[in-house]
Amino acid sequence: MSAMAEERRQKHCSVVLPTESMKAMAESVGVGQLQEDSCVALSEEVSYRIKEIAQDALKFMHHGKRRKLTTSDIDNALKLKNVEPLYGFQSQEFIPFRFASGGGRELHFYEEKEVDLSDIINTPLPRVPLDVSLKAHWLSIEGMQPAIPENPPPATKEQQKVESTEPLKVVKPGQEEEGTIQGKGQGTTTPDGKGKEKGLIRLKPRSTHELSVEQQLYYKEITEACVGSCEAKRAEALQSIATDPGLYQMLPRFSTFISEGVRVNVVQNNLALLIYLMRMVKALMDNPTLYLEKYLHELIPAVVTCIVSKQLCLRPDVDNHWALRDFAARLMAQSCKTFSTTTNNIQSRITKTFTKSWLDDKTQWTTRYGCIAGLAELGPDVIKTLIIPRLAIEGARIKAVMEGPVISNIDKIGAEHVQSLLLKHCASVIAKLRSPPDNVEQYRTEYGYLGPMLCSHVMKARTQAALQAQQVNRTTLTITQPRPTLSVSQSGLSGSSGPRTPSIIKVPSSLTLMSPRPGTPSQPSPPATKYIVMATSAGAASTQQVITLSSSQSASPVTSTVPSATSTLQPLVKLEPGSGPGLTASRPLQKYIVVSLPSSASSSLETKSSVLPTSISSSSLDGGMKLERSESPGASTQSPH
């Protein structure tokens, strides 16, 4: 209390302009020597008048129904006092005070530039702002606030958090719990519960999970579309899950849907459905209005299952279940990053789980792959401390399979995948750990069987990094954690015996990608072009700003909007595994590298330096887009870091 009073007194009394300001002002109007006494008297007077004016200006702010005081308020307050207001150009935002110091004096001043009127007259008029218009919407219908875009999300993340973390709030007699009021506003709870809550009994507020008919319909539509056969519909549904603000009430159902779905489909080895479900998890995580913490106990086991399960598909030798494991591993890493706290310790628990089963000798190659992928996605630190020390042991095991007697084809494929996975993740980390002279022998002694291959990978990574350091101003390029999207070709869904392509990963149709400019295809041997497309995760706009980084000559990013165009090329889309540990933006960037390969895919490495910013409509990409995964070592070294 006394502290508060102290604070207040401070607030009331201490504000008087310093006498130095008086002197400065006097000088500015040509009064040279001002007596100290006059300065004191003046500053008190001026401070008082300024306060008076500020108080009057506040009145104008209140009547203007604003929270921000503007310069016009001050003008009006001056007018009240019969003082001529300040004329001239007004800045809508803050007044840019400049600061200068010198001769032991500090000065804040408002830089008033001389305005050349002819300049103003000659500058073309700015675009006429849109005129005021009226728009009506339903804020509430018979006491219920409809969940439409015009209204705010029914429950903010904070409210959802409070509801889930503090359900046992003390309910004072005669006073309802806050959540209940909110609920009542939406008509979700009935007011008759009030009487029972009287008295200081700790009661969890009853929350009914009844969904309205519309919500039930929505839920049905969305879940059907998500696991259904139409890719366009699925993209729409996922888009809706990722952006709709009103899903809060359906979240428990979605979470159960996913966890049950994974449980059933793992047993049935239905790879396609598992992928769809993982995409749903990702969409849920992308939705900024959802408080997912409450449902992690259902979602995390589902995701981990998709990473480490022994078998995810019917024919492990043919089907690309590795992509699903990678994708799920990234999801896992993302949720560790977002949800791990000191109390739930998600990251350390997950790390322990992965390490434990990796260390187990009996673990199958598939699970082994998942564990390593899951760990590797957690970032370079984890790779450094947990994976690199085991490279030698793991290398020996791979060697045993690769060079030993062929036991089963599946094991061999598994070992191959683990090998490339280790090479991919470890190379960049080792490149940073070790200093340049890369000696194959040294590597061999240190990392065993994988040593030589690692050595070449590290060297490639180094040259690549060096190349890029020269070429582009690296600071302008943000490399972020990837937000991959993946889908399976339709044939995979039926589970029939038809020819199944290994997983094709597509970019959702809502995302606009780029294609070579129309003129390119006619060239006899067009060089492979590489584009980096950056999009915000909610990129639903039809045209979006695309930053194109040309690796050849232009040092600054070129910004262009993407119009619709068609192309005959089949560009390769590669998801860039990002290294970005310092992820600051709340809405991470999505980055795709599109490599268009005219005829021979192998030429990409040599020709990647020439880049042409071009565009393509997203629809044309659907069919022929292939996602180049990191299985092929050649492609992985292409990554720009």
Binding site: R8, E44, K59, H63, R66, N76, L134, K135, S140
Partner: protein, 714 residues
């Protein structure tokens, strides 16, 4: 009268320039009031009992007028006030003739601001002020609990007056020390005033400071039980604490009541205004809050009506309803004013048609209640970068008007019917005046559009109001004018000048013709559309009048002010008949209940207070908003109160419950205060948040659909 003598000596020591300085400082107040005072006294302002104080004020006004060579006004005022011809002359001539020497003499006789300030002439030892104050503080802290809360009320006014005395007597450092020591003890709702006070450290600042004038000219009113008062009195007399006793005598008005001392919460509920609580006497006048009898209009129970009903398939229900409504309106409410208490405009044919429409709509009205909440339709103003400052709907909800900070007034039609202007005079000559659809023919189809802009003001438009017949629109602005616009030609018809300072609000009477306006000059004015001068001036507020509302029977006007009080004025006499205190911040919205019995008010403190007009008592407090409440509206049946606020929410309150829950015994108690339950949470029926749109206007349609409006503020 010792203090007066002291004043004189004090003034004489002042240089003569002091007098001029004060006059200048006073200019604004007197000037803005003077033209009005002539006309309002002309009608029927009370001239009966002129107390000596009033006499002095009158003399001061006369003196001022004389000095500014407004001879005619002097004559009129003198005649009205019944002052003798020579009451002023000798001194006036003296001052005029003697030049600078006479200035002192003038000063001596001018009972205006100088006297006001010089009242702080009593000289105590400045160092002892702290001792006095802490002595009293110690005493009050040690009294019985039941008295402590009541006596604590004394702290704030005492603190302010002691501080001002110190400042006035040039004890700057002592004043500062005094402020620093005790300002923290004051109730938090005086924060704003303390901030003003803290800035004031010099005698020169006191001149022209309105807050200070208020403090001096109006006695701070405290309500204290007899027991507590006796206790205080005894203590002060025992301690010979004359300094404090003098302040209490001179600057405080202690309203003593018999009965139990009030509790802290009771006191807190009522305090917070600039000048303390309202005196009990102030709320004793009888208020005719009943509704006027509706004129009998035969409802044409003709074919089309029947048809409409038949379509809905319940034609039989209609008749009993109509009868009940008819009988209801025939009964004369005992609390209603007589039909011709104030002259009201006669109903035109178009008004009757509108009434019929109204009744038809009313039969389709949804009955609201806690289990039947209204739907809310929100009108968002998009791209209102210039700032939306005022909104109004017509009663039939067909038009919406917005006042903007860029001085424009815009009108939108929210029905498919577009806005059309009347044809030009030349074209009007051509049409057949005898035809049945002449009203349709006069409109120019080429001008049809969804919205119209009206230019004329030269400052932000802060108040806007449609006339009940939808032919006119009023707007009040920062430029000091109230403008009347025609909605037939979309041009300005009249600019009512008189306020000189920003006019914060204006509203049409529910019967049209009259309107009220209030602004920064602290007076509310009652106008008639066909008079360019106000009919009444309601003066008494101590700070800006921020909002004005007509009572449904048009006989009363309520005004809310920055001095944190609400006053209800009688249109007939111009007297203040109710003063409501309890808000802790400037009041920004008022609403009368449809039955005229209750008043709701909302302020910057985010609270809604409910008042019973007949008894002059606070009925309830609705807490929930976190920012200024800019709009309040009762549903058409008065069962639900909607409030809209800067915090981007519309809230609905069960006011029927609030009124029912109150124990009616309290009303008869002579103490003039009631126990309020803290039951806001139970009364809150719903909270609807907008995305980022402050709610600045609310309106219930005739069928009880709630319309809300505000500008999207990205």
């Amino acid at each position: 009268d010792t203090s007066l003598a002291k004043q004189k000596t004090d003034i004489k020591t002042e240089p003569s320039t002091d007098g001029f300085g004060n006059n200048n400082a006073n200019d604004g107040r007197v000037l803005s009031a003077s033209p009005g005072s002539g006309s309002s006294t002309g009608s029927n302002k009370q001239t009966a009992a002129v107390t000596p104080e009033d006499q002095q004020t009158l003399l001061a006004v006369l003196q001022f007028l004389k000095k500014n060579k407004l001879i005619e006004s002097v004559e009129i005022l003198r005649r009205e006030a019944g002052l003798p011809e020579n009451s002023l002359d000798p001194k006036a001539t003296e001052s005029a003739g003697a030049g600078s020497g006479g200035a002192a003499a003038v000063a001596e006789d001018q009972p205006d601001v100088r006297v006001v300030l010089s009242a702080y002439s009593q000289q105590g030892d400045p160092t002892l002020y702290e001792v006095y104050y802490s002595d009293l503080k110690k005493f009050i802290e040690t009294v019985l609990d039941c008295h402590r809360a009541e006596l604590s009320q004394v702290f704030y006014p005492l603190f302010v007056h002691m501080y001002l005395e110190l400042v006035y007597n040039n004890h700057e450092s002592e004043a500062k020390a005094f402020f620093e020591k005790f300002s923290g003890d004051q109730e938090c709702y005086y924060e704003e005033d303390l901030r003003v006070l803290s800035g004031l450290t010099k005698k020169e600042h006191m001149r022209g400071n309105e807050t200070l004038l208020d403090f001096r000219t109006s006695k701070f009113v405290l309500r204290i039980s007899r027991d507590s008062y006796q206790l205080l009195k005894r203590h002060l007399q025992e301690r010979q604490n004359n300094q404090i006793w003098n302040i209490i005598q001179e600057h405080l008005y202690i309203d003593i009541f018999d009965g139990m001392p009030r509790s802290k919460s009771q006191i807190d509920a009522m305090s917070g205004s600039l000048a303390g609580e309202a005196k009990r006497e102030a709320n004793k006048t009888k208020v005719y809050y009943g509704l006027l009898k509706e004129p009998e209009i035969e409802l044409p129970l003709d074919d089309e009506d029947e048809e409409a009903e038949n379509e809905e398939g319940k034609p039989k229900k209609k008749k009993p309803k109509k009868d009940s409504m008819g009988s209801k309106s025939k009964k004369q409410d005992p609390n209603a004013p007589s039909q011709n208490r104030i002259p009201l405009p006669e109903l035109k044919d178009s008004d009757k048609l509108d009434k019929i429409m109204y009744m038809k709509e009313a039969t389709k009205r949804i009955r609201l209640g806690s289990d039947n909440l209204p739907s809310v339709c929100f009108y968002t103003f998009l791209n209102a970068y210039q700032g939306l400052t005022a909104v109004d709907f017509t009663d039939d909800s067909s038009l919406i008007a917005g006042g903007f900070a860029d001085s424009t007034v815009r009108v939108w039609s929210v029905t498919p019917k577009k806005l059309r202007k009347v044809k030009s005079a030349a074209d009007l000559n051509l049409i057949d005046k005898e035809s049945d659809d002449v009203l349709e023919r006069i409109m120019d189809e080429k001008t049809a559009s969804e919205s119209k802009i009206m230019y004329g003001h030269s400052g932000p438009v802060y108040g806007i109001s449609f006339s009940p017949d939808r032919n006119y629109l009023l707007s009040s602005s920062e430029d000091g004018t109230v403008r009347l616009w025609s909605l037939l030609t979309f041009t300005c018809l009249v600019a009512y000048k008189g306020h000189n300072y920003p006019v914060w609000d204006t509203q049409f009477s529910p019967y049209g013709y009259y309107f009220v306006s209030g602004g920064h000059d602290r007076v509310a004015r009652l106008w008639a559309t066909d008079h360019y001068q106000p009919l009444r001036i309601f003066s008494g507020h101590l700070a800006d009048i921020t909002c004005t509302r007509f009572h449904p029977n048009s006989n009363y006007v309520a005004t809310g002010s920055s001095d944190r009080t609400i006053r209800v004025w009688d249109v007939l006499s111009g007297n203040c008949v109710r003063i409501f205190t309890g808000h802790k911040g400037p009041i920004h919205s008022l609403a009368f209940s449809p039955n005229g019995k209750f008043l709701a008010s909302g302020a910057t403190d985010g609270r809604v207070l409910l008042w019973d007009i007949g008894h002059g008592l606070m009925m309830g407090e609705l807490k929930g908003h976190t920012d200024t409440i800019y709009s309040l509206r009762f549903s058409r049946d008065g069962e639900i109160l909607a409030s809209g606020s800067m915090d981007n929410t519309v809230r609905l309150w069960d006011v029927m419950k609030a009124f029912d829950d109150l124990e009616t015994d309290d009303f008869t108690a002579a103490t003039g205060h009631i126990h309020l339950q803290d039951n806001s949470q139970e009364l809150l029926l719903g909270t609807y948040t907008t995305k980022s749109t402050p709610v600045i206007h609310l309106h219930f349609t005739r069928r009880n659909l709630l319309l809300a409006a505000g500008a999207f503020n990205p």
